[in-house]
């Protein structure tokens, strides 16, 4: 067996390397310490776990990024998918690297070296710091890669290190065990192998012994291999071009039926379809169909499509289209509220129709915001977001708040209430310095909510109506 380990020297930087200019010194930090940094920063004296204050002393123009676990995971997930091109068995190793089984690809690569070289070329093209190493077991390969990265700074280990050269500090024993062994003068794998097992078991834990046995190939190492990401992206060529939107119904329906079959086979559901319409000339138009609930049935998509097409105009004649299924979730993973609302509730159907007919931005819900500024105290949120809440103000607020305040002539109004003074949000735009009153229009007797601008006394504005 031949295992390769791809070691990511700086996994957080790897996630960002495509967007960053190597001429600039940059680093990833967390908890006031520098964790990873590029060559430019290293040249200026930055070291691992250095305090940020020291780092700034050494490199005043250092660009910093907070460690972002989500970004790192996404990057590694995508990288894992790409590594499947080189081997059917790829396992992600926490957040540090990947195990790649080099067996079984002899039809494609003549030998292991060629396979390793291809991998090396691929990784080098990605722009991040890495190290590759090979050994008989996955854990040994990882050890080799780490050691090479520490000792030789080579990116590709040409020859495996001997057991004498493999230092315990680079393996995955717990630090307490490594320290314990070092305190006894045991620093490398060769020295470790010379010690009797029963005595070792007393001094280390069983898991430590098991680990070493896995490194040496005496026990196998369980692996969880990466699976190919499931996706539905299909292109469809039209037999003749279609110039009017309703004409798309039939061919799209065919596509929805294919989608339905694929979803059923894959045991998945989908809540978002993106349709790309391509014309003969340049440019494409997109249609997004969203559902409040994940669907499999083509009929549901068809219904939503018809609503959408009512308001949709083709810019050019369409000769082909692509359907991509997004927001895939396994069947049965539909979220339910406390009372077990059914998946196919009429409310959600109505919501689907409204959103697809009018657009998702047209369907909103009202939440309360904890802010003294009247224009911020109520907030319209997209349907589906959890509502914010805040205590109600003591003073009354008008039902109808004008989107923009309007200047008014105060003589047309009679003040009915005491003043409510709002002076706040000095850190933001708009900040507010106003005296509010309930007032009545002298002519039509409407009850208004008006204010005097304190920064320019004498200027009055209408903000809303009670009735």
């Amino acid at each position: 067996m031949s295992w390769l380990y791809l070691y990511l020297c700086q996994p957080d930087l790897a996630a960002r390397c495509q967007q960053l200019d190597p001429a600039v010194a940059y680093a990833v930090h967390h908890d006031q310490q520098v964790l990873q940094f590029n060559q430019n920063a290293q040249n200026n004296g930055l070291k691992n776990n250095m305090k940020l204050a020291t780092a700034f002393h050494l490199q005043p123009n250092l660009q910093l990024f907070e460690q972002d676990k989500q970004l790192r995971l996404e990057h590694q997930f995508n990288l894992a998918q790409q590594l499947l091109d080189f081997s059917p068995q790829v396992a992600q190793d926490q957040e540090q690297g990947f195990f790649v089984n080099l067996e079984g690809m002899q039809n494609i690569y003549q030998d292991v070296q060629a396979q390793q070289q291809s991998l090396f070329d691929f990784c080098a093209g990605q722009g991040f710091d890495f190290c590759l190493a090979i050994d008989k077991t996955p854990l040994a390969a990882r050890w080799q890669a780490r050691q090479h990265a520490q000792v030789n700074q080579q990116q590709q280990a040409k020859k495996p290190l001997s057991h004498r050269q493999l230092h315990l500090v680079n393996c995955d024993l717990e630090p307490s065990h490594i320290n314990k062994l070092a305190a006894m003068g045991i620093y490398n794998l060769e020295q470790y192998q010379q010690l009797p097992r029963p005595e070792l078991r007393k001094r280390l834990s069983q898991s430590a012994l098991t680990y070493m046995q896995q490194v040496l190939g005496q026990l196998s190492t369980p692996m969880l291999f990466v699976e190919t990401k499931q996706q539905f992206i299909r292109k469809f060529e039209l037999l003749h071009e279609i110039s009017y939107s309703q004409g798309l119904c039939f061919p799209l329906n065919q596509a929805f039926e294919q989608l339905q079959q694929w979803l059923i086979q894959s045991q998945l559901q989908c809540s978002h379809l993106r349709i790309e319409l391509n014309a003969r000339e340049h440019g494409a138009q997109h249609i997004d169909l969203r559902s409040a609930q994940a669907q499999q049935a083509s009929q549901s998509w068809h219904t939503l499509l018809r609503l959408k097409l009512d308001n949709f105009r083709l810019n050019q004649a369409v000769i082909r289209f692509q359907v991509e299924a997004l927001d895939l979730i396994p069947v049965g993973q539909q979220s339910q509220d406390l009372f077990g609302t059914k998946h196919n509730s009429p409310d959600l159907d109505l919501l689907d129709r409204l959103q697809n007919r009018l657009g998702p931005d047209a369907v909103l819900q009202l939440g309360l915001n904890s802010d003294h500024r009247p224009e911020r105290s109520g907030v319209l949120q997209a349907y589906g977001q959890s509502l914010t809440s805040a205590p109600l103000p003591q003073f009354r607020r008008p039902l109808w708040l004008l989107p923009q305040v309007k200047a008014l002539n105060i003589h047309h109004y009679r003040l009915l209430s005491e003043v409510e003074r709002i002076v706040c949000a000095w850190w933001d735009t708009p900040s507010v310095q106003r005296d509010y009153y309930l007032a009545q229009h002298r002519q039509h007797h409407g009850l208004a909510w008006i204010f005097q601008e304190l920064r320019s006394p004498g200027r009055w504005f209408l903000h809303g109506w009670f009735s």
């Binding site: 940020l52 005595e199 003591q394 209430s417």
Partner: protein
């Protein structure tokens, strides 16, 4: 006319947005008749308010506010001394029930303060109990109305109606938490900080406007009824208590029955004087004693001196070394009572610096005790006077620049790394620009918020955050302390503090005594005990011969590692220049290496005159009498005061004000006033302008860092004693220092290396020979003429071990030592065993440390008693020298093997590099290469352009001077290197050697995993 009766200052921590004096000044500006500072369950701010009111001539009313959740808020105002005592007792009760910084109060508790006026801010739905309480206390309760324009009018109407139903009157109030609307942003920031959020996210936690502030009368008249405003005045007139009425009485427990305090004190002084001057009391001393005792009587300080005497007597009975310091050392009475050890006849001291009629301030006596036994003294005070009568003074922890920067940034949601960047850009030693200017000049913070941020930071600096306990300042009273000032819990268990700090105490003429800790006293006592044990006789401080020339010879060589006060790099460099030959020279040595004399440019003139390179001249005989002992250069604060008096006709009081202004001129610029007075006075008396201006510039240089002569004199005694011990008893002295850690400037490793260089033998930690503490081993090798002492390192030096476990084990150690590991395994846990093995302390039992670790790690208790567990034998090789050294440092922080630099000396990279001893053969101006472990980096405030780096090698220390340009160009090496190689120029002045750095090379990789700490000082 109006009186604000519910103003909260920033002593309502993280709520009030103005200082007490700001509220007072603003109230005066608005023509208020009076103001009540009513911080929440606290009187911490009232003294400051009192001082401001005295300056502004505005009436201060003392009070406090209590929040009782569903019952609303109650403000209690003090009407009389009895009411004041009740309020203090109530606050004490509420605070003592809770942990530090909080309070717990019930409605019923308010009855304690039944002489106070009670203002009630009723909630929207008041509880039945609160209504009942008000009805029962109608005559002194009033409804507190606050119109802040953020609640409907009906709210206020409801309160008025409720008041009418309850039969109480309504009182107008701004309920101010700030003096001016411009403080609203700061108030929002405080609210955000208090609620652990940002201003952006705080939402309705923040107030919707800035109306809770002191308002003009015209505005108040629009918002309140005339009778509500008038009531504020009527109530203020009922409050007739002033803080100046507080009569502090010192405990009189110590005066024997039938005797008078004054007579008793005189008796004790007389007895003490006879001991101090066994031959005859000099007439000058007698006259001085008479003068001091008369003044003490007149100022009624007898009990104070008796209290201090009693504490010191307790310590001496327990053989706890102690010594008074500071201005008390000016007093012959203190010397005769044994409180201080400086014979005022030997030094030119100034009693008026300690007590004077003009200053009318209580004396302030600081006493140092052995740091490891100070707790015994503290417990004695608590036991003798009880927790009701004794408590520590508070220290007010305020926002400083860095903490203000961080907190405001958090409140404004500025990312933390931007704050770090900002902090790294700011040079705090640059006093020419304000904090505001520094922040605005930086690019770290976005420009949209920069100025606002800077402004808020500057406002927050100096704001109190919380109370903490003073290091050792005790207030002791004749009756319960809580009648005088509220008492609350400190963070430490069984500690209570009063709500006032030392400045408040001084303002109200209350006395305190400082029970301080000094590590060197512990070390000296331990050293004397070791000597006593060795020689089977008791050694005391008085047995140490004075003015020993060999001791001064040692100091003149700069050989002062471990010596009190003069062991720093700067002091070591000064010693060969100043060349002290007597006690007074040490007094000067202690005082001269300070930022004050350095910045005032006194050091070089003094040294030139001492080395007879410059003539000493005096413009007049009166100035000569003041400056003669320091060769015409003012070095001590007292000299400045004296010169102002003799040369510029300052009165004693004015001279003392000058002293105070010196201490704080950088903050408040008051020194300018004195500049004119001093110059004019001296010119009028015929002095040259140049002399006068030079003197004034020296005064400015003193700033906050000048030493009083009495203080230097007290310390110089300990300098001499510790020097003598180092010189004549190097083994005992080093052993005592080790056992008194943590203290001093140097690590145990450095102390031991110094001891080795002085010929002291050091024996390693060994389970069969070591005690818990380091100890002396007395030997007389065959052929040697006399016995010598070696130091056996103690088990306490091994990291991670606990004393209690080992004391029990060592008590069972057989006389010939342990023969196997069984007894150890029975007493100690695995971790302790492994620590001992790692420290090579089991060498005599288990072989080399690898073998010992192997054995300890495999320890298992036997399954059957007596059953032997047979293991397969494993032979592990001994560690190499380097590994041993590394392990030594890791486990004990020191090594007795070769110094790492000695091991590395053979490395090709270190060819032609000199060690510290070899530098003495070099010439001034010569190019040299040196290398060593970085054990210190220091950028003193008085030398902003330079970094001093101390390198340690196998023969000693090397002082490297890195100028700012070099530091900037090689910043990474300067900051990161653990092993630094330096190419530079040797500078030499007699025995003082520096290397002016040119090239710095970081070769830390040669050390691999060596983990020696480097102490970086700013």
């Amino acid at each position: 006319m109006f009186a604000e009766l519910n103003a909260r200052s920033n002593f309502s921590f993280l709520f009030g947005a103005s200082h007490p004096h700001e509220l007072v000044n603003r109230a005066k500006q608005l023509d208020y008749q009076a103001i009540a500072i009513t911080d929440e369950c606290s009187l911490s701010g009232v003294v400051r308010a009192y001082q401001a009111c005295q300056e502004s001539q505005l009436k201060l009313i003392v009070g406090s506010e209590f929040k009782l959740n569903q019952h609303g808020s109650f403000v209690l105002l003090v009407t009389s001394q009895l009411a004041y005592q009740q309020l203090c007792a109530l606050i004490t009760l509420a605070r003592r029930r809770s942990g530090k910084g909080s309070y717990s109060i019930e409605l019923e508790d308010l009855r304690i303060a039944n002489q106070c006026l009670c203002l009630w801010a009723a909630p929207a739905q008041p509880s039945l109990q609160s209504l009942a309480f008000i009805k029962q206390n109608q005559s002194r309760c009033f409804m507190l109305l606050g119109e802040t324009l953020n609640q409907p009018q009906q709210g206020l109407s409801n309160q008025r109606r409720l008041a009418q139903e309850l039969g109480i009157e309504c009182l107008a109030s701004t309920q101010a938490r700030m003096h001016h609307a411009s403080r609203k942003p700061l108030a929002d920031v405080l609210d955000a900080i208090r609620n652990h959020t940002t201003v952006q996210a705080a939402g309705q936690i923040l107030q919707s406007n800035a109306e809770q502030r002191l308002l003009p009368l015209s505005t108040l008249e629009q918002r309140f009824h005339p009778q509500e405003i008038e009531l504020s005045l009527k109530l203020s007139q009922r409050c007739q208590f002033c803080l100046s009425e507080l009569k502090y009485q010192y405990p009189d427990d110590l005066v024997p029955e039938g005797e008078d305090a004054s007579d008793y004190l005189r008796k004790l002084v007389s007895e003490g004087a006879a001991k101090r001057y066994p031959n005859a009391i000099p007439s000058a001393v007698q006259a001085q004693l008479k003068h001091e005792l008369e003044l003490i009587d007149e100022m009624q300080y007898c009990h104070y001196f008796l209290t201090i005497f009693d504490i010191v007597r307790f310590a001496k009975q327990r053989e706890i070394l102690c010594q008074g310091r500071g201005s008390a050392a000016n007093s012959v009475v203190c010397y005769c009572l044994g409180i201080t050890e400086v014979d005022p006849t030997k030094v030119n001291l100034l009693f008026e610096r300690f007590i004077s009629r003009e200053r009318n301030e209580p004396p302030d006596i600081d006493v140092d005790f052995e740091h490891q036994r100070r707790e015994e003294v503290i417990q004695y005070i608590y036991q003798k006077y009880g927790r009701e009568r004794a408590a520590l003074a508070a220290t007010i922890i305020s926002y400083r620049s860095r903490s203000a920067l961080r907190q405001v940034a958090k409140a404004l949601a500025i990312e933390e790394h931007r704050v770090v960047q900002l902090l790294s850009e700011i040079d705090w030693r640059d006093k020419s620009t304000s904090c505001y200017q520094k922040i605005v000049a930086s690019q770290a913070v976005a420009i949209s918020i920069r100025e606002r941020y800077a402004s808020l930071v500057e406002q927050l600096i100096g704001f109190p955050r919380h109370l903490s306990q003073h290091v050792g300042g005790f207030v002791i009273a004749k009756t319960s302390l809580s009648h005088l000032v509220p008492v609350e819990n400190a963070a430490m268990v069984d500690r209570t503090i009063i709500q006032w700090d030392k400045d408040d105490l001084e303002a109200l003429h209350l006395m305190k005594v400082d029970i301080l800790a000094l590590g060197m006293l512990s070390a000296i006592r331990r050293c004397l005990a070791l000597m006593s044990e060795r020689d089977h006789k008791t050694y005391q401080l008085s047995d140490i011969p004075r003015e020993d020339s060999k001791t001064y010879d040692m100091l003149c060589e700069g050989d002062s590692v471990g010596v009190f006060q003069i062991e720093s790099r700067a002091q070591i460099n000064m010693l060969p220049r100043l060349r002290p030959r007597n006690y007074y020279d040490l007094v000067i040595e202690v005082a001269i290496v300070r930022p004050g004399p350095i910045q005032g440019d006194m050091v070089h003139p003094f040294l030139r005159r001492r080395q007879k390179l410059e003539a000493v001249d005096y413009p007049s005989d009166s100035v000569k009498s003041v400056l003669e002992r320091t060769l015409g250069v003012p070095i001590f604060q007292e000299q400045v005061i004296k010169i102002a008096m003799v040369a510029a006709n300052f009165s004693g009081g004015e001279a003392d004000e000058l002293r105070r202004a010196m201490a704080s001129w950088k903050r408040n610029g008051k020194l300018d006033y004195f500049k004119h007075k001093l110059l004019d006075g001296m010119l009028n008396n015929g002095y040259e302008l140049e002399f006068a201006e030079r003197l004034f510039s020296q005064i400015q240089g003193f700033g906050e860092y000048g030493f009083p002569e009495s203080h230097a004199a007290s310390f110089a005694l300990l300098v001499y004693i510790s020097s003598w011990l180092k010189c004549h008893e190097p083994a005992a002295f080093c052993c005592a220092l080790l056992n008194s850690q943590p203290m001093g400037f140097y690590s145990p490793s450095q102390l031991l290396q110094d001891a080795k260089r002085h010929g002291v033998e050091i024996l390693p930690v060994d389970i069969n020979y070591s005690h818990w503490d380091s100890s002396l081993v007395h030997r007389q090798p065959r052929g040697a003429q006399q016995a010598s002492s070696a130091i056996r390192l103690g088990i306490r030096l091994v990291k991670g071990l606990h004393r209690e476990k080992f004391i029990a084990l060592l008590e069972q150690r057989p006389e010939r030592g342990f023969v196997d590991l069984e007894l150890l395994k029975r007493h100690l846990d695995a971790t302790s065993l492994e620590s001992l093995a790692s420290a090579d302390a089991l060498l005599s039992l288990a072989g080399n440390r690898h073998q010992a670790r192997w054995q300890m790690a495999g320890y298992e208790p036997p399954l059957v008693i007596g059953a032997d567990i047979i293991e397969q034998a494993v032979e592990l090789s001994a560690p190499k020298e380097v590994e041993s050294v590394l392990q030594d440092y890791r486990t004990t922080g020191l090594s007795l093997r070769r110094h790492p630099m000695a091991i590395l000396r053979a490395h090709p990279k270190l060819k032609n590099y000199r060690n510290s001893q070899q530098l003495f053969q070099g010439k001034h101006g010569q190019l040299v290469k040196v290398a060593g472990l970085v054990v210190g980096r220091q950028r003193p405030g008085s030398s902003a352009d330079v970094t001093f780096v101390t390198l340690e090698d196998e023969t000693g220390n090397i002082n490297v001077v890195v100028w700012s340009a070099t530091a900037k160009a090689q910043r990474s090496t300067l900051i990161n290197a653990k092993l630094m190689m330096v190419h530079g120029v040797l500078e030499r002045e007699a025995k003082v050697i520096h290397i002016i750095a040119g090239k710095l090379i970081d070769n830390s990789n040669l050390l691999e995993k060596l983990n020696l700490p480097s102490r970086d000082f700013r």
